[in-house]
Structures are given as C-alpha cells and as structure tokens.
Symmetry: C2
Subunit: 168 residues, 2 copies
C-alpha cells in the first residue's frame, strides 16, 4: 500500500476521533434513563395545568408525580439519596359527555419529565440529571443546555432541587 | 336472693340478647376496615369532578383511585380475587394565584370511598363490601341500606363490579 493512501486513512481516522472528542466536550450531556415501571411507584401528588396558565400550550393537562422508593425516603428526609428518581407525568384531558359532563378524564400521555439524583454523574447540574420524554417515547430529547436550564430553576428549591411535596 | 329478683335479672338479660339479635338482622351491615397505607398502593387512574357535574356538591374535587396488589392482579384479569381493595380518594382543590394562576392544586382530603372483595362476607352485596370515610375519619358511615345502593350501581359494571380501569 502506497504511503499516501495509508497516511490519508490515518488522517481521516484522527479527524474522526478529534471530532468525537470535540463533540463530547461541546455537548457533555449525561443521559438520563427512561424510568421503567414508574407507574407502579409511589404517587406523590397531582395538579392540573389549565387553559389560564402561561404554560398551557406546552404543559396543559393533569400532572402526576411519582417517586421510586429511594426518592420517597428523600421526601421524608428533605434531602435525596443517590438513586432517587422523580417523574412528572403529564396526560392530556378529555371532557366527559352526557351524564359525565363536568368530569375531566385522563387521555393519552403528553410527556414525562424525569429527574435522577447522582451526585457524581450530574455534578455539573447540582447532582441531578434531567430529561424529557415526549408522548410514549423512551429516548430523551434534552440538550445539555436544556438540562442546565432545568437545573437553574430547580436549584431555587430549598429542598434539594425538588419542588414537590409528598401528599399525606 | 328472692326468686322474683333473680327472675327479673334473667328476663332483662334475655331481652338484651333478643334486642341484640333483632338489631343484627335489622341492620346486617358488615364492617369494611379503613384501608391503612393506601397512599403507597398502586395509583390506578384519576379524574376531576368539576362544578358542571351533577354530583359536584357532594363529590367535587380531584379523585384518585388506588388498588392494593391483589386488586392490581384483578384489574389485569378482569375479575378480582378475595382481598382486593380499591380506594377512591377525593380531595378538595385550591386555585393557584399569581404566577400559578390557572393551576389547580390538591387541598385537604374530602373523603375515601372503599370497596373490598370478600365473596363470603359480602355475599349479599355481590361479594364486595362498600364504605365511605369522611375527611380524615377512620370509621365508616354507610348503613346496610347505603351499602346496598352502592352495590346496586356497581353491579352494572361488566368487570366484577369495578368501573375503573388501570391506566397504562
């Protein structure tokens, strides 16, 4: 093999590796896994985002918060151990008809917002990783920049970045 | 002791026992226990009873349905084993203010409606016992007649007296 071709291949390989490294540092996103089985976790609380709220277009619907066992201990302690996972599940609503008029029912899932505590992995975002799963997707959509925005707001909570409280 | 006094005591005792038996048959209510720890059970589904619904005065608010493990198996099978317990927890609502305007939050508990499967104990009401616990009370309020009314309506369900479905 002539040297020119081999050199070319080495150069292409090196460029690929460099591109990968640059990409890694440019978007140092730490993936947050899909919360398998969260529907059997502890139901923390719920709320309804109605048409009069400024976030209705993106977040309107019934929101249920679920916590795994580690996070339940965190709610009680006021500080969350590594391994805590809190899920905000938003579902679209359906208006009842006929005799059910006036009742708001749950419809399809709108999204899952997930936060996972891992002090080392997510050190750059206050020890919590954030992700958004649209509809029934199991692959997250947030960029590192989006995750930073989640963290900036959640850092305002006096209880370890978590706003919700465990309803008795 | 003169015979007259002893006879009188026996008569009073006998009347007491008879009164008890008559009361037992007149109101053959089978108590349904308070569902301790239901808030850590599986969250089945939710709905909101709003001001436009005919039951709003008595049942308005956010309703959460919870099921113990036995009942979760029942939802999946379409028929509920003895020991199944389903809870309808109603909570009052609070309207958000300021930046939270348009959000409906959960308030105090309004009541618990509970149904328990025990084919023998509740044979007269289709195998299910029914109870209503007001606010944070742990003593039920339904008469045998009330329980019969619950049963009459629930017997219309095609799935073993249970109307709710397990949301995925």
């Amino acid at each position: 093999m002539p040297n020119t071709i081999r050199d070319h291949r080495v150069a292409v390989l090196a460029m690929g590796v460099l591109t990968g490294i640059v990409t890694l540092f440019a978007d140092d996103k730490q993936p947050v896994p899909y919360p398998d089985g969260f529907r059997s976790w502890r139901h923390v609380k719920s709320l309804v985002v109605g048409p009069d709220h400024e976030t209705f277009a993106k977040r309107g619907g019934i929101h249920h918060y679920y916590a795994n066992e580690t996070a339940v201990a965190g709610y009680r302690a006021g500080s969350f151990p590594d391994g805590s996972v809190v899920v905000d599940e938003a579902v679209f609503t359906k208006d009842g008809e006929g005799r059910a008029r006036g009742i708001t029912f749950e419809g399809e899932r709108r999204f899952l917002d997930v936060m996972v505590k891992d002090s080392r992995r997510y050190a750059s975002t206050g020890g919590w990783g954030y992700e958004h799963f649209d509809r029934s997707e199991t692959t997250g959509q947030l960029s590192a920049s989006d995750q930073g925005a989640c963290s900036a707001c959640h850092s305002k909570s006096p209880t370890d970045h978590v706003f919700s409280r465990l309803r008795p």
